[in-house]
Symmetry: C2
Subunit: 329 residues, 2 copies
């Protein structure tokens, strides 16, 4: 999966997002500046800004409000990661120390709050009221997702629908919001058509997000730490029950199911035990099951792209969908 195929049509705009991020992180406040520099050095692929900008490019050249909205979406993502890493006591992200690990949880709280509020302050200052509406709603859903994760911690009988509720709130809502914002039509669409199109792209982003997160949860068991930049089995250690485990628990019978429950409940597993756990999930078709669900979401996303005219931007969005389910880290 060549990531260049995805970002190609919006490379220039993504460079602008990078410059805006550097500017927004620059601050006379020493701690914000220090964390900002560290955080920018660990930045990944900017998947969410890429989605927003690609969707906007379907209807013509990307405009400045789209670039700024893309930057704000990345700020919100950064704030959420910083708070999440602190809640989850994570120490590594993409092979580099997390903010809570490099500084402490207090710094994580404060810098996260700084970035969230910077995001909304930027939207207000730039008069991006539509993006404001979307993102106020999205951040509330993200917070609901965080809270649900606390409610469901260590719940080995988590229902599939509860798992989907969590990842919809935590991950898919922001990708859905990013695509909805990207679909703002500059060229005098009728309000009804514009609304329907924006909602279609929210559903598109939502489906991509679901596919993305399910894949992420599979990688947490099967990935290569050298590629993912974090330890395997992190979710389990944090008491997060994800789809591969739910799927296997529904399939395995008696003794094997019992053994899987015992291992999963332990959370901290030695290497041989972790291997045994992965073997049992495999035996219960947990990974196959999870990836089949991820692919269903990916197919749904592609269908939602259907009405758009063919071209390089549409195929880049198709590649983005493939990336969500095809990546290995």
């Amino acid at each position: 999966m060549d990531w260049g195929l995805v970002q190609g049509p919006v490379r220039r705009e993504l460079a602008q997002v990078d410059r805006q991020l550097v500017r927004l992180f620059r601050s006379p406040i020493a701690i914000v500046n220090a964390v900002g520099l560290h955080f920018l050095s660990t930045r990944g692929k900017k998947f969410r800004p890429t989605l927003l900008l690609l969707v906007s490019r379907l209807e013509g050249p990307a405009r400045r409000p789209h670039v700024t909205s893309a930057t704000v979406v990345e700020l919100i993502h950064a704030a959420a990661l910083i708070h999440d890493d602190s809640v989850d006591k994570s120490s590594l992200r993409r092979g580099l120390p997390t903010v809570n690990h490099m500084w402490n949880d207090d710094v994580s709280i404060v810098v996260g709050d700084f970035l969230y509020s910077k995001a909304f302050e930027t939207l207000v200052r730039e008069e991006l009221l539509r993006a404001m509406r979307v993102l106020a709603d999205v951040t509330h859903h993200m917070a609901i997702g965080e809270a649900l994760e606390i409610d469901f911690e260590g719940k080995l009988d988590l229902e599939e629908s509860q798992y989907f509720d969590v990842i919809a709130a935590k991950t898919a809502s922001l990708m859905g919001g990013a695509c909805e914002i990207g679909a703002a039509s500059p060229n005098g669409d009728s309000p009804n058509r514009a609304k329907a199109r924006a909602q279609r792209f929210r559903r598109f982003g939502h489906a991509v997000g679901m596919a993305f997160q399910i894949t992420d949860d599979v990688i947490d068991f099967l990935g290569h730490p050298s590629e993912t930049g974090k330890k395997l089995g992190t979710d389990l250690r944090e008491g997060k029950v994800t789809l591969p485990l739910i799927g296997a628990l529904a399939t395995l019978k008696s003794k094997k199911r019992e053994r899987l429950v015992v291992l999963a409940a332990k959370r901290k597993l030695g290497k041989p035990e972790f291997k045994e756990l992965v073997g049992l999930i495999e035996e219960g078709d947990g990974f196959t099951y999870a990836m089949s669900k991820a692919r269903l979401y990916a197919d749904q996303a592609k269908r939602l792209l259907g009405p758009e005219p063919d071209g390089s931007v549409k195929s880049a969005l198709g590649h983005a969908v493939d990336y969500a389910v095809g990546r290995t880290r």
Copy 2:
């Protein structure tokens, strides 16, 4: 100082705020519900909603948008307290355990994020765009205040202007914002007059907030724990250098000044040492100095009320100013 004199004219609206808060805290998410119930039971005087509603009553009966804005202001205040208590490792607030103490820092992060996002989601849903603009800016200032406190932690040579920067961002900005929102004129004012009036009330709320926080910082040394519901000397233990100490350090000479620096740097003081420290601040006129500054801000606030017609609401606002500097907890 009778608090009833302050709240009298808006008692009915404050009861509505209470009902809205209960509704907003009610959630199908167990952890949010549990923390909500605990938090509502520790709620104080609702000083910020009271200011907003009183200012709005100067121009006629309070309307529903003002009540909702007042509720949102209290949500933002609650979110900030929950995050602050976690950053500061506080264990008591108004005599009851803090969220981080009763649960843990993870719950504080998540519930704080939930309340911040609930605040903005409510503003968007109720189409309160003016309040949205004001509060996006205010929450960013509050986050800047939090970050500055980390930068300045344990800085015994903190300048007075730096102290004022911190409390302006941390405390005065939200009170200023609350009053600015309250000053929205329903009755067809010219835009220019409306804007000037809103800015005057922002300055009013800012001055009340400065007076309020300076007084708070004096109470942290001189209050009675049975009244304040928290330990004395909390600021010092958290490395927060406040105006009484800054004032005394500027006045005391040689040996006494050196001794005060040594004591303040220790942070954790036994009872006799804390008494000695308070005695030295007293000798350096630190408390008198701080309260004289607080009163200057209170006078400024009262002057800003000048143009308003006399009546029960204006005098309630006058009492609110007196409360900010006259309270003992």
